[in-house]
């Protein structure tokens, strides 16, 4: 309740500051909320961009595909490296080093490779989401108490049971945190990919509005994209809370 109030207050303050700052400058460049709101209405009523739903859905589909691939590959590589000591020693540090490279440097080659369509966006979203998930799996596995594994073995647990009943619950918190970060980064990857070069999707609409200096529409599009991002993160945090209740 009070958290909601504080957030609302912060939002109101930000909007007010934004309004004042925009009016003080050039309203055509710095869109005040009073101008963005009607633009948002027009956008949602499908007047400014009638094809908005198709673009929105495309972006959502790209995010889902990128994230699904990132989760599958992240878990597979993470557990593969974590369960195999030699592989982990050989590749773990390389992975961590690659994670430190700003991912955008890979994007031009991804576009050359996958073209301007959805595939390159999915590839970029995958690339961004993959690393935090893999590294979370590796960190989580290191966290699992060796003593608890011994205890489980003493009570007759085999490798699979140890994995399910000790490793997974022992690392769940870290794992879910990594999955959440991975989702946020997959979303960012897809949208940044669309902004950097594409023919469809929310990112392409944003570039379009921005290129034509339709700044009010641009702001409205950003707001809709933000809603998509916040929605994804909300779903992820729900999952995280459920995991927290389960492991607590």
């Amino acid at each position: 309740m009070s958290v909601a109030l504080v957030r609302l207050g912060l939002l109101a303050a930000l909007l007010a500051a934004w309004e004042i700052a925009a009016r003080a400058g050039n309203p055509a460049l710095y869109v005040p909320p009073s101008a963005a709101l009607p633009a948002l209405g027009a956008l949602l009523a499908l007047r400014s961009y009638p094809t908005l739903p198709a673009h929105f859905l495309l972006t959502l589909r790209e995010v889902v595909a990128a994230y699904a691939l990132a989760v599958a590959a992240g878990l597979a590589v993470g557990f593969g490296l974590g369960l195999n000591r030699t592989l982990g020693r050989a590749y773990g540090p390389i992975l961590a080093a690659l994670y430190a490279v700003p991912a955008v440097v890979w994007y031009p080659s991804l576009m050359l490779f996958f073209g301007l369509d959805a595939a390159s966006k999915i590839a970029f979203g995958f690339l961004l989401g993959f690393f935090p998930i893999t590294l979370a799996v590796l960190a989580g596995m290191r966290q699992v108490s060796a003593h608890l594994v011994t205890v489980a073995r003493a009570f007759g647990a085999g490798p699979v049971t140890v994995f399910v009943k000790v490793m997974l619950p022992g690392m769940l918190f870290t794992l879910v945190g990594g999955l959440r970060t991975g989702l946020a980064l997959s979303v960012i990857g897809v949208i940044v990919g669309e902004i950097l070069g594409s023919k469809a999707g929310m990112g392409s609409l944003i570039t379009h509005a921005y290129g034509l200096l339709r700044t009010a529409d641009y702001v409205a599009l950003v707001v809709v994209t933000l809603a998509l991002i916040v929605g994804c993160d909300g779903a992820a945090s729900l999952l995280e809370r459920r995991a927290a209740r389960w492991t607590a």
């Binding site: 003593h147 009570f155 022992g170 769940l172």
Partner: protein, 277 residues
């Protein structure tokens, strides 16, 4: 080694163990050396010991003399480098909860499981149905003094309560041998005495075999049928004391007071040796 070769009697130790059914546990020339980056540690050397079914055998010795290591070998968690460990005449090849249950020195409760779920863990691994294992775990709560804490998580329990949950987890699986590594170490004096009496009662009613590690002479004398004193590392058996007195024991009886003094002087010597650089 083929398990059914008739020439088995060529190995005297094993043949004896097979013949003498009363000896449930046999350690024969058992040794363990840990290899670590900072050098090897001789933890246990040449320990031979037989424990009959139904005994309450207490191991006592200075810190770091290899008591936990010895229990680990009995539980199949630590492989001996020399000698062999036999239970019911068969070499121990790995953990087997149908033979032995362990109460660890560090209780090792699963933080994401409630007290009840921790107690039921072993039964869960054995595939016992949820309702039945809950019922079995519930039955243990009363004597463990944990009835009001069934749904609490380990972090919500006191140190002593955690240790009792760990004891419950070991007792729940009804193994014929119970390996207890300082199970009452974290308990206060009163609870310790009560838990000792409770354990004694269970042991006498169920006829299980208990291997018990403690630093408390009082506990050793009050509970055991036999006390094994170990030397400073590398742990060997220094002496074995039989305690045929009936229970409950009068701790002030001249017999026990004399034994206590004898054990104390032996342990004192070894503890001093253990602390020498």
């Amino acid at each position: 080694m083929a398990p059914h070769t008739p020439q088995r009697s060529e190995r005297p130790g094993e043949a004896e163990a097979l013949l003498d059914a009363a000896d449930l546990i046999a350690l024969e020339g058992v040794g363990k050396r840990y290899r670590t980056a900072s050098g090897d540690v001789d933890a246990v050397r040449d320990v031979s010991l037989r424990v009959a079914e139904g005994e309450f055998c207490t191991i006592i010795g200075p810190s770091g003399c290899g008591k936990s290591t010895l229990l680990g070998m009995l539980g199949g968690l630590v492989a001996p480098d020399t000698g062999q460990v036999l239970i019911a005449g068969r070499p121990v090849a790995g953990p087997d909860p149908r033979r032995a249950a362990t109460v660890f020195q560090d209780p090792g409760l699963f933080p994401w499981r409630s007290a009840l779920e921790n107690i039921a863990f072993g039964l869960e691994i054995q595939g016992v149905a949820a309702a039945r294992r809950r019922a079995a775990a519930h039955e243990l709560l009363g004597p463990l003094g944990l009835r009001a804490f069934a749904d609490k998580y380990p972090r919500e329990l006191s140190g002593g309560m955690r240790q009792r949950v760990a004891i419950g987890r070991a007792l729940a699986i009804d193994a014929p041998i119970i390996l207890m590594d300082e199970p009452f170490g974290a308990l206060d004096e009163q609870t310790r005495t009560l838990m000792g009496e409770w354990l004694l009662d269970i042991w006498r009613r169920t006829g299980r075999t208990v291997i018990f590690v403690t630093h408390s002479l009082h506990e050793a004398l009050a509970l055991s049928t036999r006390v094994v004193v170990m030397t400073a590392r590398p742990g060997r058996i220094k002496s074995v004391v039989e305690l045929p007195m009936p229970y409950p024991r009068a701790m002030e009886s001249p017999e026990l007071v004399t034994l206590r003094a004898k054990l104390w002087s032996e342990i004192r010597d070894e503890s001093l040796r253990a602390m020498q650089p």
